[in-house]
């Protein structure tokens, strides 16, 4: 099997890898690097569970070849907390404190999609949150609280940046 050597920058760390050209980014993150926070559910672009941020924008990692992610900054759920203190990101905190997850499988994708939304639009309306998360399926049906968590997180982030 011919493999390609690539370097992936995930959460600020460079990983030197040998991957199949046909391997998806989701598979490489989980199986080669061992970052299993990124979930694979439908594996065909329907559910959003595998969402990661690439150069700040959400991408379905099951719909992208790993080799295409070379040279880009990849952020997964493992990279959300403060790398020095381990303190959770305000979006993670909101989900933890207000039960933004039930089974938790959709949560990493939800949180990363929400981060991209808030980075782009720091003060989203409920409608904008619902629209941004419309490609992320929660099979527990916890949408109401997920939406609330994102709104609260946005508010908390605004307070923090105002300080």
């Amino acid at each position: 099997m011919s493999k390609q050597e690539i370097v992936l920058n995930v959460n600020g760390v460079d990983y030197e890898l040998k991957v199949n050209v046909t391997a998806t980014l989701a598979d490489v993150l989980r199986e080669e690097i061992g970052l299993t926070g990124t979930k694979i559910m439908c594996n065909e672009g329907e559910c959003g569970a595998c969402t990661v941020l690439i150069n700040g924008t959400p991408v379905l990692s099951c719909m992208m070849l790993a080799i295409e992610a070379e040279g880009k900054e990849i952020l997964t759920i493992e990279g959300m907390a403060d790398p020095d203190t381990g303190e959770l990101h305000p979006i993670q905190k909101a989900f933890a404190e207000r039960s933004g997850m039930q089974c938790g499988v959709c949560t990493p994708g939800m949180i990363l999609t929400a981060k991209a939304l808030i980075d782009e639009n720091p003060d989203p309306t409920e409608g904008e949150v619902r629209e941004a998360l419309s490609g992320n399926l929660c099979r527990c049906g916890n949408y109401q609280r997920i939406t609330e968590c994102v709104l609260i997180a946005a508010e908390n982030l605004n307070k923090r940046s105002a300080k």
Partner: protein, 287 residues
């Protein structure tokens, strides 16, 4: 899997020379949202992926008063949704693009990919067909032009040759006093493929329909024009009887199948409903 190689050319010219060299062994991949699904479902991956995602000269939206709208084949669907120019002048395209996939899919998927993947339900196709869009195709033998309507030959099949690449979609300016709409029925309100999609464009003179184009998606091996249904409307003032006749004719021009999204019988009912609804929408007064 695993024998494949991937090239990331920076220009269309490089793509064409790779296509000429590798022929059937190569496959162009843009956003990957269709090709990777096909591969996971068991299609043999090509020996060579030609990833065109980094070709800047394929990613543009240009507008000229005389010439109309030109969209690079590698333009992400999201750029079409977000373009205020397209929203203002080609609202049907803006709307159709907004119904395609999810917000994240729309960042990855491209307009050229939606057409070249040639799904019978492709959301961009019916609207482009009623707008009379033309495709620019580049290959080792030069450049050619083809209508979107004539592009599809079957599910997943197009007239694009192995050594060619779709580079641009050209949409002429709409006729004065024309209106167009795309109606898409899905199983849920969220992201889904169309059970039936109907695009309609009319040019009116007072209450009379001077010209009309109707295109049906997801109800035949390719998107299809409902030309007999169009003929029924031309030169007439639409009323309930005329719309009934027109939608009946449209049904006869379709060949819907049963699949995971819908039965053929339900599709047949929907075709009639959506054709009537579409014509009403583009002919009723704007107030």
């Amino acid at each position: 899997m695993g024998q494949s190689e991937c090239f990331r050319p920076k220009t269309v010219e490089e793509v064409i020379s790779l296509l000429s060299e590798y022929g059937e062994k190569a496959e162009i991949i843009a956003g990957g949202t269709d090709s990777l699904v096909r591969m996971k479902k068991g299609d043999t991956p090509p020996d060579l992926f030609i990833n065109i995602g980094e070709i800047q000269e394929l990613n543009y939206i240009q507008y000229d008063d005389k010439d109309g709208l030109r969209i690079g084949a590698g333009t992400p669907i999201r750029s079409i949704v977000n373009s205020s120019l397209i929203k203002e002048r080609f609202d049907i395209l803006s709307h159709a693009a907004g119904t395609l996939g999810t917000p994240t899919i729309r960042r990855q998927a491209t307009i050229g990919g939606n057409l070249c993947n040639a799904a019978p339900s492709a959301d961009m196709a019916p609207s482009l067909i009623v707008l009379g869009a033309q495709l620019k195709i580049n290959g080792s033998e030069g450049q050619k032009s083809m209508s979107v309507e004539g592009f599809f030959t079957g599910p997943g099949q197009t007239r694009l040759n192995r050594n060619e690449i779709l580079t641009e979609i050209h949409i002429p300016n709409p006729m004065p006093r024309s209106r167009a709409v795309y109606l898409k029925q899905t199983r849920s309100q969220g992201a889904d493929l169309a059970i039936v999609g109907v695009a309609a464009m009319v040019v009116t003179d007072g209450e009379v329909i001077k010209d009309v184009k109707i295109c049906l998606g997801a109800v035949a091996p390719t998107p299809v024009r409902a030309k007999k249904a169009e003929e029924i409307l031309k030169g007439k003032k639409p009323d309930d009887d005329l719309l009934e006749a027109c939608s009946g004719a449209a049904l006869l021009e379709s060949s819907p199948i049963d699949d995971v999204r819908s039965s053929a019988a339900y599709r047949e009912k929907l075709i009639k409903v959506l054709v009537k609804r579409a014509i009403k929408k583009v002919t009723e007064s704007e107030e």
